[in-house]
Subunit: 217 residues, 2 copies
């Protein structure tokens, strides 16, 4: 019920922003390619006003680049961009981990542990897609447990920008076991409320992400 209210409550430009965001993440709108306003508004069945407002939002989020009088393009991430994002993300998640160890309740940690166990189940059965989704949720939830709204927001923003890259990097199966080992370490640290160790696990986790991803940018 609440969700139907939320949907009708959302203005058209918000809905358009979400849909275009998805098109970018799924790679249907390719990085570096021009965003054809006329074509897309027809596709989406909206007029230019809400579409352009959505574009401004996406530009502020760093997903598209608006070049005045020259149209908008899907932001193409350079290896440097991705490296800098992962560097910041690692540092933010380190902080998130430390704060979560201080501030999260036992129930909240339990819940996260259960989420982790569901991930492990997916790993055992090699269900890549559900694992991928649970993983995203794990990191978001951990950021929530930091009880720091700004941290959550910044983390979500970087995650959104990286989503497409992660999606591609995920095709490579090699280091899945390594990622799982990192997560095991995280959960152990979380149970012990050892912020230091949790932070280190998260940072090392993102270093591996870089190794996995860097050649496919």
């Amino acid at each position: 019920m609440a969700s139907s209210i939320a949907i009708t409550n959302r203005s058209l430009h918000d809905q358009v922003a979400s849909r275009v965001r998805d098109l970018i993440i799924e790679g249907i709108l390719e990085p570096g390619s021009r965003i054809d306003e006329g074509h897309l508004i027809e596709e989406l069945g909206v007029s230019r006003t809400p579409f352009r407002e959505a574009l401004r939002t996406l530009a502020a989020e760093g997903l598209v680049i608006v070049r005045p009088s020259k149209g908008s393009i899907v932001r193409q991430l350079t290896p440097d961009d991705v490296f800098s994002m992962l560097e910041v993300l690692a540092h933010l998640e380190r902080l998130a981990g430390e704060l979560a160890c201080e501030r999260a309740s036992d129930e909240e940690i339990d819940e996260l542990v259960r989420l982790h166990e569901r991930m492990m189940e997916c790993y055992r059965t090699r269900d890549r897609m559900p694992y991928y989704k649970l993983n995203q949720e794990f990191h978001s939830r951990l950021a929530e447990l930091s009880k720091n709204g700004t941290l959550q927001e910044m983390q979500a923003n970087i995650q959104a920008r990286l989503k497409r890259i992660r999606y591609i990097g995920n095709q490579k199966p090699d280091s899945w076991a390594g990622a799982v080992a990192d997560h095991e370490q995280m959960v152990r640290a979380l149970k012990d409320r050892d912020g230091q160790q949790l932070g280190e696990a998260m940072a090392s986790h993102l270093k591996k992400t870089w190794e996995r991803v860097k050649d496919s940018i």
Copy 2:
């Protein structure tokens, strides 16, 4: 010359966004107050389309909140908001400091030292406003020296959100000497390329900011 090109190159909604941003920072548009579209577009001499696009940008930046069908309001920061921003900012600037120590050239550090000396001159002559501006620049420049674009962007975003609060906190003269001492320590650490010490100085600097500011939110 370059700047005049930049100005003409900027689309109207960008200009509007800048102007409204200034109105918010200067407190002419008060936090929590409704943004009267009709009134402001007349004031600024633009039509609703670019104005609303600007509003979407500012919303994505976290300066205004758009409530569907209910108009936009200037975001009102709670003490929790400000604390969470400073907590993240401290952590980001710590990283910036560490990276700057690794990656900045001697010339770049020299330049920053000179900027610092100009600040000290303003402190001696008690020129609060120029000091304030140089201080902003000091922190931005330091973020640049991290050679991490994402870090710069995130730092700039938080700085923008806090600008108004900082502006108010700046009225209180008491802890100016303390801030200056922090900056002395930063510059020393930077000269020695001691990332650890620089990071700690920046973090402690922001803790003091919180102490100064927390009662005036």
